[in-house]
């Protein structure tokens, strides 16, 4: 599969670019942030943390190139450094503890949002000029709302005032994390509101492009011909118009996913969800640079992986990408 091979190579390059950005940012930022941090924390930081920071940000007078090699080698071993918010827990461990929460929450919310948004977009495009067009301004409004603001209002009304949902967290704190019914149902209950926030705020991102592509595709000859064949409208709509209109949606998955992830980070903070977004918040307010950078890398890698999955779907949907050349 040449197409997939090319995509894979691109993701490798992107991953390398992200790694390098991550390496360069603290070194090229004005005002020498690492040094500033060290002097601010002087005396309050464990000597081992100071040492780790010094190495990490290249304050030990090594050449850039040797720093870069050490940096890559450490990451290769899965060593992201030590978090000093959760000192002396390694950043890798902190992230792994929270990553699954995020992947499950954001993953499911994204799939739901994609499926529902795309289906609504198909119908809105097919019945353009009808009342379904009202979906456009409504969902656009919701998509322009800041996730965190919407989340806080939902939280205040549904959990605070009406007490329908838990106020914060990923599960009831007296439960242990296992696959028991009590834990799973508690986790589900805690995930509904943040999940719903993500779905509602991101749905327009799938709906509107899908609707516009449907409208564009519907005047293509093959859709007209399908109609001329006397096929049932549902078949024309799904197998001819939607089946082709969805391709750009899958192809532009990257950009939409970027927004969802950004919004999800803020959503987690609002709902006190034990995911990676909340960790990022902790890292930011505590100026925990190693954790902050580790999270950036992990989020990027997961997004790249998700994009590769989208590419697999694309190849499955579009036979033209399967050409062996």
């Amino acid at each position: 599969m040449r197409y997939l091979a090319r995509r894979f190579a691109f993701y490798l390059i992107t991953a390398w670019a992200a790694l390098t950005l991550n390496f360069l940012i603290p070194r090229l930022m004005p005002g020498d942030p690492a040094q500033a941090l060290l002097s601010r924390f002087r005396g309050r930081l464990d000597p081992r943390a100071t040492e780790a920071l010094t190495a990490m940000f290249g304050l030990n007078n090594e050449s850039m190139w040797s720093q870069y090699r050490t940096y890559l080698a450490d990451l290769g071993k899965g060593d992201f450094g030590l978090s000093f918010t959760f000192f002396p827990t390694p950043v890798g461990t902190v992230i792994m503890d929270s990553l699954w929460w995020t992947i499950v929450l954001v993953g499911i919310a994204t799939v739901v949002s994609f499926v529902v948004g795309t289906l609504l977009g198909i119908v809105a495009g097919w019945k353009r000029g009808s009342r379904w067009d009202q979906l456009l301004p409504i969902t656009t409004f919701f998509s322009s709302i800041p996730y965190f603001w919407f989340g806080l209002i939902v939280l205040f009304v549904l959990s605070g005032e009406l007490r329908l949902f838990p106020l914060s967290g990923g599960y009831s704190s007296w439960l242990s994390v296992d696959f028991s019914w009590a834990f799973l149902s508690s986790a589900f209950k805690h995930a509904i509101l943040p999940g719903l926030t993500i779905v509602i705020a991101s749905i327009a991102g799938w709906l509107i492009p899908m609707r516009n592509m449907m409208v564009t595709t519907m005047s293509d000859d093959y859709v007209v011909l399908a109609e001329a064949k006397g096929l049932a409208p549902r078949r024309v709509m799904l197998n001819y118009a939607a089946r082709n209109a969805i391709l750009p949606s899958v192809a532009t998955f990257t950009m939409s996913l970027g927004f969802v992830v950004g919004g999800a980070v803020l959503t987690e903070i609002v709902f006190g969800y034990p995911g990676i977004g909340n960790n990022l918040y902790q890292a930011v307010i505590n100026e925990d640079f190693p954790l902050m950078q580790g999270i950036f890398l992990i989020i990027t890698f997961v997004v790249l992986l998700a994009n590769f999955l989208a590419d697999l779907v694309y190849v499955w949907l579009d036979p033209r990408t399967r050409v062996e050349a």
Partner: protein, 654 residues
């Protein structure tokens, strides 16, 4: 996602040459766009003049702690007695400034990268595209957070710069795709050929054509920047002592505004962000419609092909020749409504007999393809059958009017009785389904009782009939050559053994040899299966060879009709004569190719008299005032030309 896929996904701004300036800008003047502009304008005014009018200091403390909205404090007060309206007004100014600054910087970056990559091409393009793609895939918010996390100062300008660094790639990408497509167009090639400097070409030839896309990505970036800035402020990552919408939310949240019931503190800034995002999205809808004319809303969907009202059906003469299979009577098709309507088909009568080949010839814009779409009721808005009837005679049964069939009747009629082959075989086949699926679904729809083995057998049968190897059944359209695709379409049309086959320029896109093979095949199949053919083409000489009878169309009317041999021997309308002289004949004596001077008429301009008169070398005074009617000259030969009609005696001069 591949660059090609992106290029496909991005509609290119190529309004058709026929679109008038007025309709081109219709999208920009729509209600949605105007609403968006007004909403955005209100914010701009509020940001610019609000703080001057509402002269309260947003940071001034007072004793009015957590007051709900009142006459003194329209939006209420904060926990420290600050006036929230004053904060929101200053916040509007700051948030808009951050948004616009970031959008300007990001747009400049994306223009630089996109235009250079698209125009220069080669390695530069590869590198720049890779750079844009990398930045597109890396999630923006975490990157902004990391960047901002290291900043020593986090003033509004710095934040705007950081946001623009992560927000330029989308614009760069679509601009590159657009530049690539524009660069290959004639006017740019011409400018390059005349040795104009690249910078001038980019600025004066390419950039103006990308205005819509630049504007769209600019507005989009404003929203992105405002949302990102709010997110950063909410995280405490921008200077929250400067009042911005996100900054207000930061303080509201940190003081538990919602929990203490102070909704007036928390709601307005978020609402402002949502409303401005919506305003810009509405403007973008208008730009989308401008860039992609297909998006302009038309009231009727395709499947609600309009049915003629029953009452208007004209009774047909009870006993007609039994050999008629399709009869079009006084058909009128308009594009648009009211006084601006264009009469694309204007009172056409046609009779198709069983097993006959009826040729319809004319230049582009003569209404011949519109006629084909009208017969199959496939016209899309704004095209609409205004009046007339299209009767179909099922074998041994009473005629039915296609225009008055219900949706179910129409679906059953289509393909089973009348099938159509379109001009472009590439575009007529669904690119993501195999030929087998596309042929079998017609069988499934019309013969629901068949098994999949029966359907497969039939697919193989029709494919063999048109000379396609049976193993191509599982091929996708892109795996076939142009000729094979056209054969596949013909096979598909025959799958239900229809009585009528409409061929709309079926071979125009093919080379002459393949064209001939396919035509011979169709004619052989007609002999064998006995279907009637309506053959639409601009190539009259081709029709002379294959058709039994020919109708020649001009400006939406049939101007001459007769048997093919008679038309060939003695074309009577000057236009028919001109058409015959426009193409070399495959057989028979050589003629001098002269063609027809002038261009087809603009159907929007209604003038009295013969529509061909301005181009006619033999026009007489009466031609400018009298519209000629289609009248018989000899048995089976009708002409609409004053020169051939009663008082005309200079027939011989033709």
């Amino acid at each position: 996602m591949s660059a090609e896929a992106i290029a496909d996904a991005v509609p290119t701004a190529q309004p058709g040459p026929k679109a008038s300036t007025r309709s081109r800008f219709a999208g920009l003047r729509s209600a949605k766009t105007m609403t968006g502009l007004v909403m955005f304008g209100v914010f701009v005014l509020a940001g610019a003049f609000g703080p001057l009018v509402w002269r309260k200091d947003p940071s001034a403390l007072s004793n009015d702690i957590l007051q709900p909205p009142s006459g003194a404090h329209w939006f209420g007060t904060t926990q420290t007695g600050q006036d929230i309206l004053a904060q929101v007004l200053v916040g509007t100014r700051v948030s808009l400034l951050v948004g616009v600054t970031a959008a300007v910087l990001a747009t400049v970056l994306s223009l630089l990268v996109g235009l250079t990559a698209g125009y220069v091409g080669g390695l530069t393009d590869e590198l720049f595209s890779a750079l844009a793609n990398v930045f597109l895939v890396i999630p923006a918010l975490p990157l902004v957070v990391v960047l901002a996390g290291y900043l020593p100062t986090r003033g509004s300008l710095t934040v705007a710069v950081v946001i623009s660094l992560t927000g330029w790639s989308w614009g760069a990408r679509i601009l590159r795709a657009q530049t690539l497509s524009i660069r290959r167009r004639d006017f740019v090639e011409a400018a390059r050929a005349t040795g104009e400097r690249p910078i001038r070409i980019i600025l004066f030839e390419i950039l103006p054509n990308e205005f819509a896309i630049v504007a769209s990505s600019f507005l989009f970036t404003i929203v992105f920047a405002i949302l990102t800035q709010a997110g950063l402020a909410f995280l405490g990552l921008s200077d929250v002592t400067t009042w911005s919408w996100g900054g207000i939310l930061y303080w509201a949240q940190n003081n538990q505004a919602l929990q203490s019931g102070a909704w007036w503190w928390f709601v307005p800034p978020g609402l402002c962000i949502a409303v401005i995002g919506m305003a810009l999205a509405l403007i973008n809808f208008g730009i989308d419609e401008f860039v992609n004319p297909r998006l302009r809303v038309q009231k009727l969907g395709p499947k609600r092909a309009r049915r003629m009202p029953m009452a208007k059906s004209r009774p047909l003469p009870a006993s007609r020749r039994t050999d008629v299979v399709l009869e079009v009577t006084d058909l009128h098709v308009n594009y648009g409504e009211g006084p601006d309507a264009v009469k694309a088909v204007d009172g056409v009568d046609l009779v198709l007999r069983r097993g006959e080949v009826l040729g319809i010839a004319g230049e582009s814009g003569s209404g011949k393809s519109t006629l084909a779409y009208a017969i199959t009721r496939l016209l899309r808005p704004p095209g609409e059958v205004v009046s007339g009837s299209i009767h179909y005679w099922p074998r041994g049964e009473e005629p039915v009017d296609v225009l008055r069939m219900s949706a179910d009747e129409l679906r059953a009629f289509r393909w089973a009785e009348l099938a159509i082959v379109f001009q472009s075989a590439m575009n007529s086949l669904n690119p993501v389904l195999t030929l087998r699926v596309q042929m079998a679904d017609a069988l499934t729809a019309h013969r629901p009782g068949t098994t999949s083995q029966q359907r497969d057998a039939r697919v193989v049968e029709v494919m063999t009939m048109v000379g396609l190897p049976a193993d191509r059944a599982d091929a996708y359209p892109h795996e076939l050559s142009g000729g094979m695709r056209q054969r596949a379409l013909i096979a598909m049309a025959l799958v239900l053994e229809p009585d009528v086959l409409v061929l709309d320029e079926p071979t125009t896109a093919l080379d002459v040899v393949v064209q001939r093979q396919i035509l011979n095949q169709i004619m052989a199949l007609r002999e064998q299966l006995g279907f009637a053919v309506v053959f639409i083409t601009h190539d009259l000489s081709l029709l002379i060879e294959v058709a039994d009878r020919i109708a020649i169309m001009y400006a939406g009317r049939v101007i001459e009709t007769g048997s093919a041999s008679e038309l060939y021997r003695s074309p009577q309308h000057p236009y028919s004569d001109g058409l015959l002289r426009s193409f070399p004949h495959l057989h028979g004596p050589r003629k001098v190719l002269t063609g027809i001077p002038g261009t087809p008429p603009d159907l929007r301009i209604i003038a009295p008299g013969c529509p061909f008169q301005p181009r006619c070398g033999q026009a007489i005074a009466a031609c400018t005032t009298t519209m000629p009617l289609l009248l018989a000259t000899t048995e089976g030969h009708q002409v609409a030309c004053l020169l051939t009609q009663p008082r005309s005696s200079d027939d011989d001069e033709l």
